[in-house]
């Protein structure tokens, strides 16, 4: 079986992560605490978090839009059209990297395979070992995932891992908190980091499944092609994106972003422009999980 190539280090019911997932910052729309199981993949040494099978709320609801008109009064409401309608989506269980892929991991991939990336920022200050790898081409992220025996998450998997089942706005809940992510303004005055932060520095901003940095730090590639109208016709069971599209979907926002772009439902496609991008990997959960 595919998963046998991994050395599974299963850690059940990590109390700390549960406390983080259910603690301060969450509001009434809170996911019921879920036992968290992790594994470590052999090739890249990445810790992966288990996300159980089941439904979750994907996209942006009418109620969210009303709220957004208050939070983002200067934004044209059409900005959120590509996130609508909100729908209940069923996903099979999967694993997702707990952290964004780091420079140390990405360089290990380059060294071992001789792969030459198209756009990887391998220069200071972006390339320190414990910083997330800035990988600006989707194909380079896919190549890494294949090497590691994994794949990029689908947009739906990414969003469920980020916001849990209850449709919350940010990974920690529905209240904006600038101290819970690497983001904001690029000054470092609020979050302590002028640019990207080393992975895992914001446990207070962890997702309901214990996944770090799902808001801020780097935008993240997912496997789906981007179609702004995809939610109008997407399947409600294990959606994998349109057949083709205008580039690939980006999620999560980066270190230079706040509020709007770091919402779990936010999706950016087409020409990413000056967005700073990284990624994390996912894999199917074996049936016995």
């Amino acid at each position: 079986m595919k998963h046998k190539q991994f050395c599974f280090i299963v850690i059940l019911s990590i109390p700390l992560l549960l406390a983080l997932a259910c603690g301060e910052g969450m509001d009434s729309k809170t996911v019921k605490p879920t036992p968290i199981k992790t594994i470590t993949t052999q090739k890249d040494g990445a810790v992966m978090v288990f996300v159980p099978t089941g439904d979750f709320l994907m996209g942006t609801s009418d109620a969210d839009i009303e709220l957004y008109t208050e939070i983002f009064p200067l934004r044209d409401i059409s900005r959120f059209d590509n996130e609508r309608p909100q729908r209940t989506v069923y996903l099979d269980a999967f694993y997702i990297d707990q952290f964004e892929v780091t420079n140390k991991q990405f360089k290990q991939f380059l060294t071992k395979t001789g792969y030459i990336p198209e756009k990887y920022l391998d220069y200071p200050p972006h390339n320190a070992d414990n910083l997330p790898a800035v990988v600006l081409e989707w194909e380079d992220a896919v190549a890494y995932a294949h090497w590691a025996g994994k794949r990029l998450p689908t947009e739906a998997e990414w969003e469920k891992a980020a916001r849990g089942t209850d449709g919350r706005i940010w990974p920690w809940g529905n209240e904006w908190d600038a101290t819970k992510l690497s983001g904001n303004d690029g000054t470092g005055l609020i979050d302590g980091y002028e640019l990207t932060a080393p992975i895992g520095q914001f446990p207070q901003g962890v997702s309901p499944y214990g996944v770090y940095d799902m808001a801020g730090n780097l935008w993240e590639w997912v496997s789906d092609w981007y179609d702004p109208d995809y939610y109008d016709y997407a399947p409600n069971v294990n959606p994998k994106g349109p057949e083709t599209g205008d580039g690939h979907v980006l999620k999560g926002g980066g270190w230079a972003e706040n509020l709007d772009f770091t919402r779990c439902a936010n999706r950016f496609g087409g020409n990413p422009g000056s967005l700073i991008i990284g990624f994390r990997c996912a894999m199917d959960a074996p049936a016995e999980d």
Binding site: F72, G186, N258, D260, S274
Partner: protein, 268 residues
């Protein structure tokens, strides 16, 4: 006594005019490559700008194809040092013919030479990060090299911009926006200074739109740098250009002096 004051005023104006007065120049608008705005809305906004400039009698050229990159560079080279205040409008991308990609020519590019004469020439940019370049050609280095300010960046998205009194006067079409790539006033250095801030955050550290100028040399004008926004970029750009052409230039130094003299005589 009054005549003495008027004479002194004229001498002062004459002195100023000898070093600071420019001829009204031309405008070029390029939509051949765009970033953070699709080509169709960029063309739409560019045409709005063109109509307003035409109505104001300002000579302009619209280049809408990526095959126009060389023509754009030729325009810019011809506009450099021609004693006219010329303005180049970009929609989120700076073509490599103006600034070689990958920051391959950090100094002396066509674009940098253009803004380094006393013509006061300007580059006005919409949508994405100024000089970033399609496909991350230049990233942060583009702006830093063009301004010769190491470390200056244009991060800080979703920054609410409050229109200043001057902004209301210059650009009536300017709405309050959330800028995604505002200019960092607090990172200005060297001879660069704020000429006019049309909208800025409460702290006065971020601005969009803004006109910044390198002493007596050229200008950079970020205007509504937002991701996929549908703000009236074309109208606001036109209003800023019309204001700049009218207020930062004079058709002929002599003409300005005679007008001034005429006004003064009227006051008498």
């Amino acid at each position: 006594m009054r005549n003495v004051v008027i004479f002194a005023t004229l001498i002062t104006l004459l002195t100023l005019s000898s070093s600071q007065v420019f001829a009204a120049g031309e405008v070029v608008i390029y939509t051949g490559t765009t970033q953070w705005i699709d080509k169709a809305p960029a063309d739409e906004q560019a045409n709005i700008c063109v109509e307003m400039l035409d109505a104001a009698g300002i000579k302009n050229t619209l280049l809408t194809s990526d095959g126009d990159m060389d023509a754009l560079a030729t325009w810019m080279e011809n506009a450099t040092g021609d004693d006219g205040l010329d303005i180049c409008v970009l929609y989120g991308d700076i073509p490599p013919t103006l600034y070689p990609q990958g920051n391959a020519q950090p100094d002396g590019s066509v674009a940098e030479m253009y803004i380094e004469t006393t013509d006061g020439d300007a580059i006005l940019n919409h949508a994405d990060y100024m000089f970033w370049g399609l496909g991350n050609r230049n990233a942060e280095g583009g702006l830093q090299n063009m301004m010769d300010i190491p470390g200056i960046v244009m991060w800080d998205d979703n920054t609410p911009m409050i229109v200043t009194d001057k902004g209301k006067e210059i650009a009536p079409s300017l709405p309050e926006i959330q800028s995604d790539r505002p200019f960092h006033i607090d990172q200005l250095d060297g001879d660069w200074e704020v000429e006019v801030s049309l909208a800025q955050n409460e702290a006065g550290t971020r601005a969009d739109p803004i006109i910044v100028r390198d002493g007596e040399l050229g200008r950079l004008i970020p205007v509504i740098q937002t991701a996929n926004g549908n703000e009236p970029k074309g109208a606001v750009a036109a209003e800023i250009i019309i204001w700049l052409m009218a207020n930062a230039t004079s058709v002929e130094p002599e003409g300005k002096l005679s007008t001034t003299w005429g006004n003064l005589k009227t006051v008498r």
